[in-house]
């Protein structure tokens, strides 16, 4: 795998991992906010 493609792979892995993390934490935060109302 050439360096450019390797970088693209790393970048998109990071982006999709962060999206997954955002969904995980987002729903917990939403539940906390709703509970606090």
């Amino acid at each position: 795998m050439d360096e450019q493609r390797r970088k693209a792979v790393r970048r998109s892995t990071l982006v999709f991992s962060l999206i997954a993390l955002a969904f995980y934490l987002g729903f917990i935060v939403m539940a906390v906010v709703k509970g606090g109302r």
Partner: protein
Amino acid sequence: MAEHSNAASHADHDHHDHKPHGWRRWVFATNHKDIGTMYLIFACTMFFIGGFMAMLIRLELFKPGMQFFDPQFFNSMTTMHALIMIFGAVMPAWTGLANWMIPMQVGAPDMALPRLNNFSFWILPFAFTLLIGTLFVPGGAPAGGWTMYPPLVLQNGASFPMLIFAVHMMGASSILGAINVVVTIMNMRAPGMTLLRMPLFTWTWLITAYLLIAVMPVLAGAVTMLLTDHFFGTTFFTAAGGGDPVMFQHIFWFFGHPEVYILILPAFGIVSEIIPTFSRKPLFGYEAMVYATASIAFLSFIVWAHHMFTVGMPLAAQLFFMLSTMLIAVPTGVKVFNWTATMWKGSLTFEPPMLFALAFLFLFSIGGFSGLMLGIVPADYQYQDTYFVVAHFHYVLVPGAIFAIMGGVYYWLPKWVGNMYDMTLAKWHFWLSTIFVNVLFFPQHFLGLAGMPRRIPDYAVQFTDWNMVSSIGGFGFGLSQLLFVYVIVKCVWSGKRVETGRVWEGAHGLEWELPTPAPYHSWTEAPSDSIIAKGAAH
């Protein structure tokens, strides 16, 4: 000529593939085909464990009255059967097929993240050992249903933390697998393999992977909150502490409905590969199929509350979720129309993959229609929690998802192992499965409409006859699957050698441009544009 030299070059690579041998090949596997094989074997094992539990359920329900098990164990069986079949059989089977086929179909040498691929597979045996281990702890296995609704799930005994940890591990495995699929498809396609040249199986898996990345963390979030409610004094879902158990249902089904499409979209992809091959025609409306798949995925995010109409919600919400549910019939209808149009005036033959694809078309549509019935709010008030629901989702998942997986295995198995299977036995497997699956699940529509509730070990005597018929169908279907394993094992060990790269006369796609059996390393050199253009079926 280019094709042959390419194939020869690959055969040469295969000769020098330096693949590891012994247990290291599997434990430290990074090759997409090895990992795909492990996923498929794991899924098959779970299919038989989950299937055995289904047999026990049907055994108990053969006659009214308590026959063999206490109600707690019966409910454990329904819960475990669902968890094992969904997370242990169908999802890993799709990931196995994705591992095998996506690099071959997009002209990549392997998945983009091979070590992550190994990790996401090896999480699964630990997750399911933990889950199945709950059968042996005080209080027994989880018995509150696969939906894990609080407060019932919080009353589980020692199995509760094991269940939550197992679900977290399954979720992590799925998310990592999905990230790998997206990253592979977005970054590893051969030059010239544009998005709208990709085979439908790869397309449907790309969309499925996006769904997985979005919703599996939501399930993880929900069960994390269950865990903190149980052990750390929070009250997310406990009414006594100001929490709301119904909120769990909303969060769960925000995951749960897209999950249904996670289980079925790759099936649409496989059927879209098989029908053109055995009709000897290009797929009708390729782009419409892609857009229909994307539309179904989008709509799957805005229909979740149709699973909980009876929980009590404002009329406007009921109308919104009912109408958005009805909308899904439009892109699904596009798909069914396009498959039918592909076959129209085609030169059809009925090899086992085609038989499974056709059965899928008819029987999945039955599941789709009963889904529409359930989506109608006032009707759902009658059907909620009856056997009609059980009949509906089993029609979607068994002759839907599982038939497509079997069709896919029969379609690609000769390519994988280089041997052809016994056609006669495979057709026997098809006919036995198709007859028994209908004997098993069709009567459950009648039982549900007559008012038989689901998740009960005993029932009123008027439901006896159809329950007996359903149980006979269940035993027949279960036993028929032993034939599936026999056909595969016989093919691998002593099947007739396949000499050509293009195993099926009408097959199109990059995977058929590789030699048979597929070399250990697929596309070590990117395929040329002419090969890609030739492989594109549209």
